[in-house]
Amino acid sequence: MYKGQSGMWAWLLHRITGIGILLFLLIHIVDISLLGFGPAVYNDGIRLFDFWIARILSLAVIAAVLFHAFNGVRIMIIDFLSKGVLYQKIMFYIVLGLAIVCFIPMAIFVIMPLFVAFFHLPTAVNSK
């Protein structure tokens, strides 16, 4: 720990997002293995990812991946470039900014189907 400076938060966030992504990876390997049981079983698994709670959780995974990816580049710049460590703080803010900028459009794609479903709900029920 570095007394609450940006280096500590970057390190802590990198570790927490990494553990979270690994946990998701293990779950994801299991749900994809349903492919071996044929279309009906596999599609039932995929159906869960359309559930609104699953879509919100997907956003958390996407945000974690984006931060972890950009901060990974920051770590490599610090490790491999001799002057990298001098810019670690400004790079941390760039990492946060890039993660947010990339997250927003992706989040719109992930969440939009919920709003579409929500506002079309009466017609969807009637059309059954």
């Binding site: 690994l22 994809i32 279309p39 995929i46 997907s58 992706m106």
Partner: protein, 139 residues
């Protein structure tokens, strides 16, 4: 005495720790591309509700997508589990627990690697009348 070079700390002296230090960084570079393409394909160009069996069958008709997914599986699992090993060594002091948890990680890595690899290699398409819808919905 170690004199600072201005470069980040890395394990010196070769061996597994140095190899794993470089492996985490090199696999990380590859994973940035693999994971971002994966996210765009599964959540942007196609909604996740349409990543059904039919969608997988169309993708896996091309063996390069199987190779892509297998690289993603392997690098992500080894990058994650190898990093988890570092986390375990950081927090678990007792040597008994450390050996136990590290062994469990190794076994888990092998099991999940095999499960994922078998899923990718053995995937087979089914006749068109059995393939199911192109999109599914929770409601």
């Amino acid at each position: 005495m170690r004199i600072s070079t201005g470069y980040g700390a890395r394990p010196s002296g070769g061996g597994f720790e140095t190899f794993s230090w470089y492996f985490i960084r090199i696999s990380g570079i590859a994973l940035i591309f693999l994971v971002i393409i994966h996210l765009l394909v599964m959540h942007v160009t196609t909604d996740v509700a349409c990543t059904t069996f039919q969608f997988v069958a169309a993708r896996y008709a091309n063996p390069l997508w199987r190779l892509f997914d297998w690289l993603l599986l392997t690098l992500a699992l080894l990058h994650g589990m190898n990093s988890m090993r570092v986390v375990v060594v950081d927090y678990i002091r007792s040597s008994t627990w450390r050996v136990g948890v590290l062994s469990a990680l190794a076994v888990l890595t092998l099991i999940f690697f095999m499960l994922g690899t078998i899923t990718i290699i053995t995937f087979q398409n089914v006749p068109a009348n059995l393939i199911g819808p192109n999109c599914v919905h929770f409601r």
